[in-house]
């Protein structure tokens, strides 16, 4: 029995005159990994950003329809975007650590939430680094600049940083696209670990990755949600011809 975490209805998004998302209706389950796949420019990142209202930061974006998270419409007027984003963490395609130390990167979120107690902050650092399977690699160098880590470590630190504000949902936009196979494997393992506690939505261009890590897969094409189903179904027996062409790499 699965519980719905995120539900969208008739969702349209326009960048100025240009429509980037068309009538998206999707139902994302809690404590599962949902993958978004689709060709470049089809609106995956745009849709991901709809879910934590990052598009508010871009001028000229118009959104219609509903996005319900635990039955609350997050585009309602009385919603506090700042609190919403604390509940919904985000990991970006390119690691975007602050030019601060590893420790400072991790405590940034807790600190802006008013946590000042050094002991509590230390605990958070240890917990999140353990969760991100990074503790052994960085525990002796917490005061080194975050940007001195390797690319894969940086990306895992970004995940740890997102976990530090104790979100319920984690949105990941191609988190492993710039990484080597070993780092990618570590991140996929991490996603697997995290899913018991968090609802995860991941955008990926890597079909195998989608197949490996996700429970549900959504296929987007030209701003439309073409097909959305169990990952095994999408990859073995998709209902639509377009989906089949895409997942088998026969896309025109």
């Amino acid at each position: 029995m699965k519980e719905t975490k995120i539900l969208t209805k008739d969702l349209n998004l326009y960048y100025g005159q240009k429509q980037a998302l068309k009538q998206i209706a999707i139902d994302i389950p809690a404590n599962k990994v949902t993958a978004f796949i689709g060709p470049s420019g089809c609106g995956k990142s745009t849709f991901l950003r709809v879910l934590n209202r990052m598009n508010d930061l871009i001028d000229n974006v118009k959104i219609t329809g509903e996005v319900l998270i635990e039955d609350v419409n997050i585009y309602e007027k009385n919603i506090d975007v700042v609190n919403l984003r604390k509940k919904i963490g985000m990991v970006f395609q390119k690691s975007n650590l602050f030019p601060k130390t590893i420790y400072e990167n991790l405590v940034y979120g807790p600190k802006i939430n008013g946590i000042r107690n050094k002991k509590v902050l230390d605990e958070i650092v240890e917990r999140t680094l353990t969760q991100a399977a990074l503790l052994d690699e960085v525990k002796d160098r917490l005061n080194d600049p975050g940007l001195s880590l390797s690319g894969g470590q940086q990306q895992r630190l970004c995940i740890a940083r997102a976990l530090a504000v104790e979100p319920e949902i984690i949105l990941m936009d191609e988190p492993a696209s710039a990484l080597d196979p070993i780092s990618t494997a570590k991140i996929e393992e991490l996603i697997h670990e995290l899913k018991s506690k968090y609802t995860i939505v991941i955008v990926t261009h890597n079909m195998q990755q989608a197949a490996r890590v996700s429970d549900q897969t959504a296929f987007f094409y030209l701003g439309e949600l073409i097909e959305y189903d169990k990952t095994t179904k999408i990859f073995t027996n998709p209902a639509k011809k377009q989906t089949e062409d895409y997942v088998t790499g026969r896309f025109g």
Binding site: G89, N96, P99, G109, K111
Partner: protein, 317 residues
């Protein structure tokens, strides 16, 4: 056969580089001659006494203490006006204002203002600060002729207006150089706009803002034209200082309502209205040397900031 040993001839490049080299040497030579002349002629005056004492005998002897004091006082008040206003305006323009027709006009205007000749600012200061604001204040407050005349306050305010666009432009540049991805990271963690600016944007932009601001200030401190009719005095026996007393305790404070002597203006006076050039010439060189040293010190500070900033970035890359 593959021939990779024969050198490719790049005659245009060769000529180009050497012309640039020659021009560079001419420029460096001119600069060295200029500075060398000032240093050699002014060195004899570069001492404590000259720096602290007042001119005597119709400026043919004595020091330039009041002019240095005036320059520092004007610069100090100019900083108080220009820096907070400029930095906050830039933060507003870059971070808060939407990209509309009007904000674009404002940006263009700021950029153009940075290139307006300084004498125009002087006339503006005379017209706006002294005649409009000053006389207006005098009328309203019934203070006779207190605000509506040339003085340190209006000179500082005018120089502040002069350096304001430069401060804004360099702050804008520094803010712009902070990557959007860092802001996104901050917002993604649930930070408010102000928290993002305070903890992510400003720390990264700070060295750039400081560098730009210091260079703007050093430009302002060396200006002559705008303060010509704003209170710079030919000769003043006293400093623009008044004691502020609380009970028996008195502290000397800069009095912004008085006239003042000013290094750049002092040099101008010595050069154009000397009563005895043979005697004033060394003083003139000495003053120039000190003015150059002051601006040089400011620029060095800016360079140190920039250097430390680069090092910080280098370490983190």
């Amino acid at each position: 056969m593959l021939d990779i040993t024969k050198k490719t001839k790049d005659i245009q490049g060769f000529i180009f580089i050497n012309v640039i080299r020659a021009l560079f040497f001419i420029l460096a030579l001119l600069l060295i001659l200029l500075l060398g002349k000032i240093v050699i002629e002014g060195a004899s005056k570069f001492n404590i006494e000259f720096i602290f004492s007042s001119p005597t005998n119709n400026m043919t002897s004595g020091g330039i203490g009041p002019a240095i004091f005036g320059t520092l006082a004007v610069t100090f008040i100019m900083i108080i006006f220009a820096v907070p206003l400029g930095v906050f305006s830039a933060i507003y323009l870059n971070e808060y204002a939407k990209d509309t027709f009007w904000t674009r006009i404002i940006r263009t205007a700021v950029n153009n203002l940075a290139g307006v000749p300084s004498i125009v600012f002087g006339l503006f200061g005379l017209g706006f600060f002294i005649l409009f604001v000053g006389r207006g204040l005098d009328n309203v407050l019934k203070t006779g002729l207190l605000f509506g005349q040339p003085c340190l306050l209006w000179a500082s305010a005018t120089l502040a207006v002069l350096v304001l666009p430069v401060v804004i432009v360099s702050t804008l540049e520094a803010l712009n150089s902070v990557p959007k991805s860092h802001r996104d990271a901050s917002y993604g963690l649930g930070a408010t706009k102000w928290q993002t600016i305070k903890y992510v944007v400003l720390p990264q932009a700070r060295p750039g803002i400081l560098t730009g601001t210091i260079l703007a200030i050093s430009r302002g401190a060396g200006e002559t034209a705008p303060i010509l009719f704003l209170g710079a005095a030919f000769f003043l026996p006293t400093l623009p200082v008044t004691d502020i007393c609380i009970g028996d305790y008195c502290i000397p404070m800069i009095n912004p309502m008085q006239q003042f002597m000013y290094l750049a203006y002092h040099i101008f006076i010595l050069a154009t209205q000397s009563s005895d050039p043979s005697k004033t010439m060394p003083i003139q060189y000495g003053s120039t040397l000190i003015l150059i040293t002051l601006t040089f010190l400011l620029n060095i500070t800016a360079i140190i900031f920039r250097y430390r900033f680069r090092k910080l970035l280098g370490k983190t890359k």
